[in-house]
Amino acid sequence: MPEDRSIQYVEASVEGLQEEMRLNSSVFYIGQGIGARGGNFKQSKGLWEEFGDKRVRDMPISELGQVGMGVGAAMAGARPVVDIVFLDMIMEAMGQIVEQAATIHYTSNGKIKVPLVVRAAMGSARCTGPHHSRCFYSWFAHIPGLKVVLPSSATDVKGLMKTAIRDDGPVIFIEHKFFYNKKGPVPTGEFTIPFGQANVCRKGKDVTILAMSLMVWHAMDAAAQLEKEGISVEVIDPRTIVPFDEQTLLESVHKTGRLLIVDEAQSFCGFSAEAAAMVASKAFDSLDAPVSRLGALHTPHPFNPVLEAAMLPSVDAIVTEVRRLVAS
């Protein structure tokens, strides 16, 4: 690839959308405030000006209707991108996603494809509270038929967005609020990033950390600290949890013998339980210590900053847990 530029995560995301909309006139984009406003997070900046009302349309507060429209339009040959803005607001649309989008290709015997991208932003960002902070991506992963994307860098968000729009099935594309205005290197020109290919963000030999979305950044910070103590940490970002790149993770654990999973969501009955169970079973003889899971506390998101900080996995908590893990 040509040399990189440093642009914001949200700019990279918009570029991905924009390029695909230019390439394919059947792609359209709907959501609340994504028109003239350019998106609550600037996540649609410039698109309405370029493509107009017909392909970039502001929506009323009708998440169920928006996603249902997306399903119908996809069944009828379009490639809709439906923006939910705050992931928390997707609840009323769950039926359209789970009962309709996720099952139609299967039950129609492959006759109907549903190339729908549902885009949303998750996660805590300075006390967004119980209704604007959830990270329940594991729900989607539990449902056969849905692909689930969690981009953690500017390059990934662009490359994965393009792949999501080109995918012939429903894709749940979840960005992180905290990332949007953060800059990162992005290759110039055309590129995509395939689903199901984990990113080894950092090589190490003592312990493996599997982390998703914002937790990848925390894990990298922790790894940098731990290196000073002589602890070598390998950090793996699955990038998509469906499809899930088991191989890359297993190879790492075979090498390190120790695994910590860091998850901004509660780990109970979630993806970190899945990854822990999978590794504990498939790397049974390689593990030198039990797989450790560090997720959010099993509570709703408190508004108070002190409580919120206590609830979420921190860099310090990761460092402490890794120390314990290598010592065990």
């Binding site: 009323p60 996603v67 429209m69 996809a74 009828a76 379009a78 290709h105 129609s108």
Partner: protein
């Protein structure tokens, strides 16, 4: 009365009726899995509306959708086999009665979820509007769907975007065993169009010519870019809610008998003969032709090989 139209509508309704009775007979023999909801008595709605649609227009349907599927052009053989859960079915028997899909004729599915097809139709209309190809979408749903959230958002959005879609409510007075009026304050569905700023009209859903006329106007408006219409068709379900429900416990015998007198197929026949548009013999001929068609569909479905368990994991991800 235009003869071609009358005979086409008569054939369409006969096909649905005889199809459903054959399904019922087959189901009662115990060989069919799952549970089924029959369209008997409501054929005028699907026939009258779908007569205006081409295979490039879209339809979304319900749990009671066999009639919609046939009227929209899903092949009789493959429809019968699908409901029977056979690999020769239109969806390989993977979907069954409540999951019949046929993109070849724009049929976007019967549906196990009440009202779910409404926003889906709005979306299909959005896709054709985006292409500007002049097609329309029609969503069929029951009175029960009117009280559901998907009705509100699906229609409200279509109105806001002025999309080419027609919403057809089959008000048969009951949702399962629950009378519409028991759980709904305003039982005049057509008046709800005003809430969304679109025309709403209530018609006799057992008068196929009336349905045909009103649906024609609504579909023309949609094609002309004038936006959605809500049509309430007053009709009735003489049979039980699903095969197995006698359908009597919660309704008086008189009510059922009275509605049987308004059977849409008998009415069209009587009407056609009296008006001289068609002769008894011509109607009988259509009836016989359909009989053979349905019999053949039954044989087609029956003859299907069994499913290969290995295919269970196919098509999960596109």
């Amino acid at each position: 009365m235009p003869v071609d139209l009358v005979s086409a509508l008569y054939r369409s309704m006969q096909r649905m009726r005889q199809f459903e009775l054959k399904i019922q007979h087959t189901y009662r023999s115990g060989v069919m899995p799952g549970f089924i909801h029959l369209y008997v008595g409501e054929e005028a709605v699907a026939a009258g509306v779908c007569a205006h649609l081409s295979k490039d227009d879209y339809v979304t349907s319900t749990h009671r959708g066999h009639g919609h599927a046939l009227a929209k052009g899903v092949p009789v053989n493959e429809a019968f086999a699908e409901i029977w859960g056979k690999p020769s079915g239109i969806n390989g028997g993977r979907g069954g009665s409540m999951h019949i899909y046929d993109p070849a004729c724009g049929f976007l599915g019967t549906n196990g979820i009440v009202a779910a097809g409404i926003p889906i139709a709005t979306g299909a209309a959005m896709a054709t509007a985006l292409r500007g190809d002049g097609h329309v979408a029609v969503s069929f749903f029951g009175d029960g769907a009117v009280n559901n959230c998907a009705f509100h958002e699906g229609i409200n959005l279509a109105a806001a975007l002025l999309l080419p879609v027609v919403f057809v409510c089959e008000n048969n007075l009951y949702a399962t065993e629950t009378p519409f009026h028991r759980v709904t304050k305003n039982t005049n569905v057509s008046t709800r169009g005003a809430a969304y700023g679109i025309p709403g009209i209530r018609i006799d859903g057992n008068d196929v010519l009336e349905v045909h006329r009103v649906a024609g106007e609504a579909i023309a408006r949609a094609r002309a870019g004038e936006g959605p219409t809500l049509i309430e068709c007053e009709t009735y379900r003489p049979l039980g809610h699903f095969e197995g429900d006698p359908g009597t416990g919660y309704r008086s015998k008189d009510e059922i008998a009275e509605w049987k007198l308004r059977d849409p197929i008998d009415r069209l026949a009587k009407n056609a003969v009296q008006s001289g548009a068609m002769k008894e013999a011509e109607l009988l001929k259509i009836e016989r032709e359909v009989e053979l068609e349905i019999e053949a569909a039954y044989e087609f479905a029956k003859a299907s090989p069994e499913a290969d368990p290995a295919t269970v994991t196919h098509f999960v991800y596109a």
